[in-house]
Amino acid sequence: MDGLPSEEEQEMTTETATVDVDVTVPDPQTASHSKELDSNFQTVGEVRVANARMTCTDVNVYYGDKHAIKHCNLDIGENQVIAMIGPSGCGKSTFLRCLNRMNDTIDICRVTGEIKLDQQDIYDKRLDVVPLRAQVGMVFQKPNPFPKSIYDNIAYGPRIHGLASSRAELDEIVERSLSKAGLWNEVKDRLDQPGNGLSGGQQQRLCIARTIAVEPEVILMDEPCSALDPIATAKVEELIDELRQNYTIAIVTHSMQQAARVSQRTAYFHLGSLVEVGETTQVFTNPQHKLTEDYITGRFG
């Protein structure tokens, strides 16, 4: 990244953006925490970035009758970590799951709006969801290794996508992925043992390695450290920081310290609305919206 994009650059690079960004003082109506923001609420801060990998425009998600995400606009910048924070049930995970269409597995879930990955609409009817998910990988809240060996856990993705033509090549992918996830030295002597036998933190890094193995471009992480102890968390955070060099990362977290440590941009969600987006340092030191300020200062949520 070479500095922040200027206003003009942004106009040029985000030709798909149809929504004007409102950076003015928040609506007085929104002061109450429990109240939902009204439907024409405009997100505070810069939702667009110059080098966007993913561009979301007017995204709405419904679970049956429940309007879970409301008119959300957001860019995910390349080689950047964007943190999504907010109180429980505010839609951050739902939004994350939209980005690789994991919501397709939920019958009653309906998504409208436009989400583009490299200018390609991922909700296009003609688009095959399988390569999309290979491009946009996901790490879940609870470590969920397959009940297979460590080796097979990593090799699963490359195998189904035919990424390796020989056993040697597959071995190399497994070693590379485990090394990137910082797990290689811990498990290299017991690759044939079950993945469930590892500790929680190792399992989560195994899951990250498994995601990396299919060489995605974007990695989505849904509270990846919530089931881990502080030491394992520190390792995973370190890993996220290293992965940023090669991948675009979106992370949902309940820990504001974690968001502050690992992310470059932060998005604050509140009851299905994206309230504020900005540079992480700016959001945490100088939040523009009252709700954001209340949340990060710990006054609620």
């Binding site: 690789n100 994991m102 597995t105 019958d107 399988v130 390569p131 999309l132 998910r133 290979a134 990988g137 996901m138 879940f140 609870k142 969920n144 290794p145 397959f146 009940p147 297979k148 699963y156 993705g157 189904i160 996508h161 469930n196 899951c207 498994r210 995601t211 299919v214």
Partner: protein
């Protein structure tokens, strides 16, 4: 007093005891306001009194019912003239049978003489005394124990703990009944089998290749070799069960996969009970379906392509049995497939796996132990199944692997050995117990393996 009336009266006494016990507990602490100073809730004092009123009396009544017959019988025998008392036990038994019939007004086998009439009157008299005595004893015990319990009630008495002790011992007794019954059945089968093995060597039974359980009644009888080799029966059983599993495993497993992972929630909630109805069809209905519809159809098809098909083929019985055990496979598999955590499916989907890849490579391997358990349970059900094979599989003990031939199974042979008049000292009858024992051991083994596998699998995700 009739026993049923007595039981109803006893229930009334228990209800009354409940009420009184509850009242007294409240009275000792000065009414509802003081209820908090009671150790237990007032209703526990009621239950305590009621249980003391009911249980000892019921126990006495149960013992009486159990021993009444033999006690009265021996008293009647005592009252008989001495020349009758000296009769051998078998004849005495016949005589007492007649006396019993006479007393209840049934038809008597021989001439009724004065002695018998007297004995019958004596019996009737004893019976009526007995039931009156029982009623008095039971009611006085009930009232006595209830009043003892009632007097013991006070705010310090731990009625809840005592009631729970009584309830837990009732639970122990109930489970003991089930366990002891099983043990009793096993022992009875075991002892009869021992008697069989005294007549026929174990090795002949286990490894004999010929089954022809006709025993010569006279020395000069022909055509009654009396061969008791169980191999053809087990071969037939396994052949039919194998055909059944060949039908049930693919169909059941695939329908389970469809229901668990493809069908919508609405379809699933409707289709699963319908599939389980298959398990509710009486096996005799499957049996005549196999014998009257499927077997002739198979024979017709076989003959049209030039095969000779027996009219009672293993194939027909096996196919129908396969249909019967589909619900066992599908229902259990559906449960274990559903028990595979969604997070594993999500993990596979997030790596870009398609639905069928996810099911084949992630869900099924994870669920495999449970599915195996379900299949083994279905197999033990198939091996023990009787009605379908009685009707559709035939009686001739052929040692063959040809599914178009007629074979017979262990269960069919047990049925034929025990139908009709039996003599319990002949190897022919006792063979049924030996077969039953062997069948029991085989299905028990399968069940143990299946349950072990299912349990091991359950631990995996918890």
């Amino acid at each position: 007093m009739q026993l049923s009336v007595l039981v109803f009266v006893l229930l009334g006494v228990m209800a009354l005891a409940y009420h009184l016990g509850r009242r007294r507990s409240l009275a000792t602490v000065g009414g509802r306001v003081g209820a908090r100073s009671l150790h237990s809730l007032p209703s526990y004092y009621g239950f305590y009194t009621a249980l003391w009123a009911g249980l000892p009396a019921l126990l006495i009544a149960g013992l009486w019912v159990f021993f009444e017959g033999s006690i009265i019988n021996s008293m009647v025998v005592q009252g008989l003239p001495s020349e009758l008392r000296e009769l051998p036990p078998a004849q005495l038994g016949l005589l007492m049978n007649d006396v019993n019939n006479l007393a209840s007004g049934n038809i008597v086998s021989g001439e009724v003489d004065a002695t018998m009439q007297r004995a019958a009157d004596h019996l009737n008299e004893l019976r009526s005394i007995g039931s009156t005595a029982l009623a008095i004893a039971v009611l006085s015990i009930a009232l006595g124990t209830a009043s003892l319990a009632w007097r013991a009630i006070g705010p310090k008495m731990r009625a809840r703990n005592r009631v729970e002790v009584i309830v837990s011992s009732l639970l122990v007794v109930s489970s003991l009944i089930a366990i002891l019954t099983t043990v009793g059945i096993v022992l009875s089968v075991l002892f009869e089998s021992f008697r069989f093995f005294q007549k026929v060597p174990v090795t002949d039974f286990l490894f004999g290749l010929e089954w022809s359980p006709q025993v010569a009644l006279r020395a000069d009888q022909v055509g009654a070799s009396g061969a008791f080799g169980a191999i053809p029966l087990f071969a037939g059983t396994l052949l039919i069960s194998f055909i059944a599993l060949l039908v049930a495993v693919p169909v059941g497993l695939m329908s389970a996969i469809y229901l668990a992972d493809y069908a919508g929630p609405k379809l699933r909630s409707n289709a699963k009970p319908v599939l389980e109805v298959l398990a509710g069809v009486p096996t005799v209905v499957y049996g005549f379906f196999a014998a009257l519809t499927l077997a002739p159809a198979i024979r017709g098809v076989g003959e049209s392509v030039g095969l000779s098909v027996s009219s009672e083929s293993a194939l027909a019985a096996g196919l129908v049995m396969g249909i019967m055990i589909i619900p066992f496979v599908s229902s259990l598999s559906d449960d274990v497939i559903n028990a595979v955590p969604q997070s594993l499916r999500d993990a596979a989907y997030a790596l870009g796996a398609t639905r069928s890849e996810t099911i084949r490579q992630v869900v099924l391997p994870a669920a495999l132990p449970g599915i195996m358990g379900g299949i083994l349970l279905a197999a033990s059900r198939a091996i023990g199944e009787t009605m379908i094979v009685v009707m559709a599989a035939g009686l001739s003990a052929n040692l063959t692997a040809n599914p178009l031939d007629s074979v017979t199974t262990v269960t069919v042979q047990i049925v034929t050995l025990l139908v009709g008049d039996q003599e319990f000292d002949s190897a022919k009858t006792l063979a049924a117990f030996a077969l039953g024992l062997l069948l029991f051991v085989v299905t028990l083994g399968l069940n143990i393996v299946a349950l072990h596998i299912v349990r091991k699998y359950r631990e995996q995700y918890e």
